[in-house]
Symmetry: C5
Subunit: 336 residues, 5 copies
């Protein structure tokens, strides 16, 4: 996420400059044809364009709503992971009674960090419908780095899991799911050995269910994109609208200069105004699009690397560990 | 669901080509009458058409909202099934203590796959109000296949249930409900035999309640369509609007050519523009309609076959089985 | 609910024909006065009418949203009843251990059907603000029958309750509440007698709480109408709008015929167009209104008779009863 | 709440007559100046007024949405209280085993009525931002009476609490909170004495938590008004709009009469039309405003006196008491 | 929050006066150029401005929706803290059985106040994206004081924690989290010592989980701003719109005076009207912006200092303490 005050206009223009080139060409063509070739019949009525504009506003608004909802739900899910991690943490720390209490607690805590790790690596994998292969995003991604794309999963997991468990997990399809299954197995063994009462086991298992719940919700957002038919019709309509706007404005700008010193030249104002208008609608759509996949590794992602680190700090602080890792900070305002 | 980048414009045009034929006829009639028969009074004012357009925008927007919500809720429900399946799975695996532990666990796991199977077969049955009999969808359905329509339920269930249970279940009205009731019965018998404590039984029964909850929610979406009176009035209004648009634009396009080289011919531009405008509104409605029934077997369904398979893989992976079935992949971008 | 493909245009026109008569009169008056009496000043500007139209669109949209939400929530509540009934059913069936197990289970199951019956009878009672006394609905109601209005509660309850319990319940104010209280009492007595453990009692009591929860939610929708001040201002504004539209269109239609063969007669087109426009807005409101009270016995109700029957079938199927009652089917497409 | 069919137009006009006076003055001034003083330049363009109208529509719509949501949530909260009261009631009645069972149950039930009483008295206190001091509401409030404003809390509590508990509670800040704390204390004492098992105590305490939850939610709506900055900007914009409308319509109405028998007089139509339009927007705002505080004692409140009485009836009916109080009925259609 | 009737127009004008200066300059420039320099071609058509206005309305509406939702959710979260605090309070008070019962209860209660304190101090820290450094808010903040900015955390905590615990907590990263972890630890020790049963411990631990849940939700709103890309594009579009409006209105106001006594001067009306219109849109945005961060210390914050105090009063009243602190009252209508 962007953790600063705002994106500057300059950043926006740079980010969308390829769109601007395209919009410019679309605005120049009818203006030139109108002025130099006398194709004045190109100045279609504004009426159908306005009607189309209404429909486009509706559909872009609809998409932005859905997009914002997906981003916000993604953040809520990770918020849920934070909350359950804290209560699961204190429960394990305070309830467990075994000979090797300290060691057992640490194994469970570190396995939890392993789960957080596997989950964030899975969520930051690529999907066909995501936007990180767009030129604008490849370019902007140079301003920050995405830990899940630069590090290797097994290296990070090795910090948290025993060699044996690591080897086991690496053979599994859904690693996060099976790490949590290991957690369940360990806790049950401890309960059988008397380290937890039956009732305490029930509470801890409810914690594991809550982790699975949040994992599944995050995977839902990851694996079920904004429906492609909704998305495609929005693009088609936007492109149609953007194509027609410069034609619809021709007449107004032609008349504008009548009787003034720019008579005969005012038609050229059609170009900047058409660009401006179409850029606004186009950029609204780009903004919406850039939040529909909140785990794709873009600058507008939910900062799951940072949240996972925060969890690690909080939970190790519960154990009064002293060598806490530092919190992650934004890089060029981007916090991942 | 469509698991690719987008539907192409070509796919959209093919998909809606019967609508385009209809819209073309509606646009040609008034234009011809106006031009050749001199019925210039057909060029009704845009004012009532615009007002109707507002109302149509509202009602299509409303329907698309509801449609998207139904699709998204359907996906959430199946997400819920995933989440509870995982926690139910680890509980059964880790809690059960019986002589034939491995066998008992496997029976419960496989009966769960049977439940997933019966549920998805039930959800993919036909309903009167669904759209899979529309020509556009019959045609498009040739791009992919729907397992629940090509396979027979009893054949698939036979992979998961004992012959005795299979025979019993096939006599029942709501098979998914009664498979889950078998699950409850088995777990209770195990508990009575001491394989689960009373408290563990309570947790497992809460799992069964959660499965029933998600099954019931999916059946609600299946059996309670987008209300027919809302749907019908939307169609009526859209058709009215689509009929009037070509009349409302006549005047503007007639005037367009005045004093230019296409004078007297610009009226023909009415046809493409009317088609374009009405196509946009009509297609928005078609897009919305195609998500109101998210279990009908269309290309925009929730991919319940795929999700059920994923569950089977995850749960068999928990048991460290080695002959895991492959994950389902999209066929011509469509994942079922 | 309507369980078919759609309401036909003809059904809509018949259903709203009294409105059409009224709208026709409202459209004829200004047109006649304009044409025959020369009251051309009646052709008020479209500007204030359009502004009012915006406000009317907003308020009808708002009401339809609320109406749809009430209908959908009502269906969700009954969906909730289905889900809890199933898990309550298997719990009772599988947990109970008593000498007369089979009989005790059956008493509890049948008392549950009694609760479903009392609840649906209560929900289908009349309320002052409901619409079943409107001529349009009285007429349409001849297409189907509403079990709760043709049968007597005591007769149906007699199938499910012992004579003693029936007599007791008939003396009570809120019969559904007190039937469920009997259920609680019976289950507690069984627990005291050792047929359920304390923990199982807790689960069953949670089931009873869930039934009360859903009952209370349904009663909330039944007893708290769409707020009358919101509803009344919507009617007032709609009527105002419908009254003004024919005046606002006069001028446009008068000019329409100029220089054509219908010069001097085009004013008469004002009548069909005004009717058409006002009918659309009026019918949108009627559609919305007809879902605000989803338990009133209208063709657009939640099908609670059918759902209650489905529950009975499912639960008796759990007991392997053989004389299951048939599922309810739609009558002229209407499922109650 | 209004429990009838609708508010009549007459009631609305009476209710808003002071606004109508104000709107009339605002409409008369520009019309007179235009006509008699020749200030024709007062007829400002409709363009900025229409733009402002869009913004006003948005903000009033936004406020009405929030207002409806607050009212509906308030009703849901009280619905929640009903539902938990019923299940809490049957639990206490059926679980308790003590020597003085009947008496203990009654004390708990009646203390619950005391809590309902204290809560509704607290919720019907005045707040600075509420509207019951508006002339329109003072006037309308003569049609019904609000029990919490005519009775004294201590008198009503005396019917439900022992003298000792009453004296104790009257010294407390938040009386409802402390009555429920007494409930908790009593139930714990009974549990310690063996009248409830530990598990039953847990269920009952969950009930108490649910009551606190609903109480807190109701207090949230009571104590956190629709945010004053949102509310204030809405008023400012509405007033601006209402001021400008009569100026914006001047030109249209002046031209209306040209060439007709009312030439030169049609300007006077500006007054009724401006009043009509501004009244519609103003009244929409008044309607929204009158639901933002659903516990203020207005005719559009949630009927908490009635709901509390219903609870008392239902719970006393559970105890088979015979002298049940009557249900509250609407007074001039208003149910409190 | 503002706890009075409303913000006055004067307050709004003062609050936004810097915007008004800016808007005035933007309106004066084109008017002067048009009138004195004859740059009549500056009077661009209203058509693109109106279209832009639609998009701006949409995006400001969207932002205000999100902003209101964040504020309201923030209040709900603190409402949740109130509700759980009360039920946690009575549980601790009524369940605990130890030798030093009174002292133990008090330690737990006061540690809870410490948690409330640490939480509100954390929430009122500064974030880069918050608005308390805007001149308008710095100025307005002189009307009230924010306890968390004038007091020191350690001083306040010292009232509630033992010296030892205080010293421990001050070394921790997330102090609220670790205070609650102390609470968990204490309660577990009491349970081990027999002061709580296992089942009671489970209920208390559920309380702690609920506190963590609410803390995490509040931190989510604090640390995840309204997404910067949505926010930035809204600002850019608003500024563009505000820039163009005075150009778009030029023509209308120039024509306004034709033939009247202000002929040739009516162009100057462009300035007040452009300011008025742009001010309305700009202020709507400012109002929305001022609620997006409901814990920033602004006049429109959720009153968390006040709520925390209310909790302290309620809980100390449960212990029948007599020296209760006073409730916080608004300062110049602002309640923090």
């Amino acid at each position: 996420m962007h953790a600063g005050k705002k994106y500057s206009l300059k950043e926006f223009i740079l980010w969308t400059r390829r769109d601007i080139y395209r919009l410019t060409i679309l605005a120049v063509i009818p203006t030139v044809l109108y002025h130099f070739c006398g194709f004045t019949f190109l100045s279609i009525s504004w009426v159908p364009v306005a009607l189309l504009g209404t429909a486009v506003s509706f559909i872009i608004g609809f998409k932005n709503n859905a997009s914002y909802a997906r981003l916000w739900e993604a953040r809520q899910i990770y918020g849920g992971i934070i909350n359950v991690s804290r209560s699961f943490g204190v429960m394990v720390r305070d309830l467990l009674r075994s000979k090797n209490k300290q060691q057992d607690v640490q194994i469970i805590f570190y396995r939890h960090f392993a789960w957080l790790t596997a989950l964030r690596f899975q969520l930051r994998e690529n999907r066909v419908w995501e936007n990180m292969n767009d030129l604008r995003n490849i370019e902007y991604a140079q301003n920050y780095h995405t830990a899940e794309k630069t590090n290797k999963l097994e290296d990070v997991l090795a910090q948290y899991l025993s060699a044996e468990e690591l080897a086991y997990i690496l053979t599994k399809k859904n690693k996060a799911t099976q790490i949590m299954a290991l957690q369940s197995n360990h806790i049950n063994k401890l309960a059988t050995a008397g380290s937890f009462s039956d009732l305490q086991l029930q509470s801890l298992q409810a914690g594991i269910a809550a982790f699975y719940d949040n994992q599944g919700k995050a995977e839902r957002i990851k694996n079920f994109p904004y429906p492609r038919h909704f998305s495609s019709i929005a693009s088609i309509m936007l492109n149609l609208f953007v194509f027609l706007v410069p034609y619809g404005l021709l007449n107004d700008f032609n008349k504008l200069g009548s009787g003034t010193l720019i008579e005969g030249y005012s038609i050229w104002l059609n170009i900047p105004f058409a660009i401006l208008l179409t850029w606004v609608f186009n950029t609204l759509d780009v903004v919406g699009e850039s939040s529909t996949n909140p785990f794709e590794g873009s600058a507008n992602d939910v900062p799951i690397t940072n949240i996972s680190r925060t969890m690690e700090i909080d939970m190790r602080d519960m154990l009064d560990e002293t060598n806490l890792p530092p919190a992650l900070t934004p890089e060029n305002n981007i916090l991942m």
